[in-house]
């Protein structure tokens, strides 16, 4: 019985120490991101991301397409005209 109490005590200490440590460790990581990384981001902006305010993933996929803004605007203009004509037909 005494042995069990001892084990519970150990488990409790482990839980407390473990949770505190995990939180402290990851909190320091937050500070690291907010200070060091944020400063680096300002100092060395990404040429791609800097031009668009979207998330990285989106801008990447946009890049992959390799379509220039001029072409995009031309296409969207054509689509708009087609849609309006299409709408009038009906």
């Amino acid at each position: 019985m005494n042995n069990m109490q001892q084990q519970f005590l150990e488990a409790g200490t482990l839980m407390l120490a473990g949770m505190v440590f995990v939180f402290v460790f990851l909190s320091i990581l937050i500070v690291f991101i907010n200070t060091v990384l944020a400063k680096l981001a300002v100092k060395f902006p990404d040429p791609v991301v800097a031009s668009s305010s979207r998330t990285n993933k989106k801008s990447k996929s946009k890049n992959d397409g390799g379509v220039s803004p001029a072409v995009v605007s031309a296409i969207s203009g054509a689509v708009k005209r087609y849609r309006s004509q299409h709408g009038q037909d009906k």
Binding site: M4, Q7, F8, E10, A11, G12, L14, M15, A17, G18, M19, F21, V22, F23, F25, L26, S27, I28, L29, I30, F32, I33, N34, V36, L37, L40, A41, F44, P45, D46, V49, S52, S53, R54, T55, N56, K57, S59
Partner: protein, 377 residues
């Protein structure tokens, strides 16, 4: 006549023991889950087959000289296989969502409560006759709550190798069950209004941040928790290969061929631990029960932490993403996204949930390091 008798004695039929037959059925059960139910098939299929092989009488797969024996000792006993897999996971992980919203690290930390609370449960099970868990065993079982297969196998191989089979089966089964276990807990702990919360778009993350991040994590682990450096170190190596952009070939190998090859051997090696002596006992039932408890507590504490943060934060935080803190990448994040969509069909939480999700991977690696440092000596 004599030689006929010898031939009969060398057949499987003459040598089967009941335990072996039962374990083969368990192996077939794992194969069924993998093939018919698509439960973590990449691991459960080789694991189930390994369980069948290791229980073949006479063949001696898991005895000295047998294939599975060497696979186990070369890769799992040494901890090499889970670490290689962790490198591959690192190469597959995009920390962008985490760096864009660093607060989510706290959710990854909170969800680790599942691990440490289960420690208590494992010790409490000692009241049941037939179960005797030491603190080492309890720690190895508790790590199931980290919902991270390689971490669980790594820690179990160090702290409680005799429980490895049961722990691995529990860890991977529950990871496959994340879409069933988590949603009821998430719905019970949040209100409809909270589930509808839309989150602000993440800030853009630059390439240099993504390159420095794994190095920073490694540096911190070196300073504060060297016992976690095998896991975190390999993870950061994989991640750096991905983000540096200069070794795409290595990165692609780490996240494809290498992780696949290792998964085959890891599954077989873990399966070899599913022998009747090691698996057919009350302790296995205890481990399976504790694993479910660990998962549930981890999910609940992640959600509760997110609720708390939402109260105090200026920018709204949807409590559902807290559930993704239990790693299980990317399944837990998908579950958060799905439950969120049920309440608000225009609310896509996936990217936001990836933050706590990858934070959970770091968190469980850190928790494993703590357990190794405090219990492993």
């Amino acid at each position: 006549m004599d030689s006929l008798n010898t031939l009969w004695l060398s057949t499987g039929l003459a040598n089967f023991e009941l335990g072996q037959v039962i374990m083969m059925v368990v192996g077939c059960g794992l194969l069924y889950l993998a093939i018919a139910r698509n439960f973590e098939p990449l691991l459960l299929l080789p694991m189930g087959f390994g369980a069948i092989l290791t229980n073949i009488p006479v063949a001696g797969f898991s005895e000295v000289g047998g294939l599975l024996h060497y696979i186990y000792y070369a890769g799992i006993d040494t901890g090499i296989f889970p670490l290689i897999i962790f490198m591959g996971v690192g190469a597959m992980t995009d920390f962008g969502a985490l760096i864009g919203n660093p607060k989510t690290l706290l959710l990854g930390a909170a969800a680790q409560f599942g691990i440490f609370a289960t420690l208590f449960g494992a010790i409490a099970l000692n009241y049941i006759p037939g179960i005797e868990f030491t603190l080492k065993d309890a720690s190895a079982i508790a790590i199931i709550g980290g919902a991270d297969g390689p971490t669980a196998i790594f820690l179990a191989s160090k702290l409680a190798p005799e429980l490895l089979g049961a722990i691995a089966v529990a860890a991977y089964s529950y990871m496959a069950l994340v879409p069933i276990i988590q949603p009821p807990i998430m719905r019970a702990l949040t209100s409809e209004k909270e589930r509808k919360i839309e989150m602000a778009q993440l800030r853009p993350v630059t390439k240099i941040e993504k390159i420095i991040f794994p190095l920073g994590v490694l540096l911190m682990t070196i300073f504060f928790l060297p016992s976690a450096t095998p896991l975190v170190g390999m993870f950061c190596l994989g991640n750096l290969m991905r983000e540096s952009g200069v070794v795409d070939r290595l990165s692609s190998t780490a996240q494809n061929e290498l992780i696949n090859i290792t998964t085959i051997f890891l599954g077989l090696g873990v399966g070899s631990k599913l022998s009747s002596e090691a698996f057919l006992n009350v302790e296995t039932l205890g481990i399976l029960a504790l694993g479910a408890v660990a998962f549930s507590i981890g999910t609940a504490s992640g959600v509760l932490m997110a609720k708390l943060m939402n109260k105090f934060s200026k920018v709204p935080i949807n409590p559902l993403i807290g559930a993704a803190g239990v790693s299980a990448v990317p399944m837990a994040a998908r579950v958060a996204n799905k439950v969120g969509l049920e309440s608000n069909p225009h609310n896509f939480l996936l990217m936001h949930a990836m933050g706590p999700n990858v934070a959970g991977v770091l968190g469980s690696a850190v928790a494993a390091g703590i357990l190794l440092a405090l219990v492993g000596t």
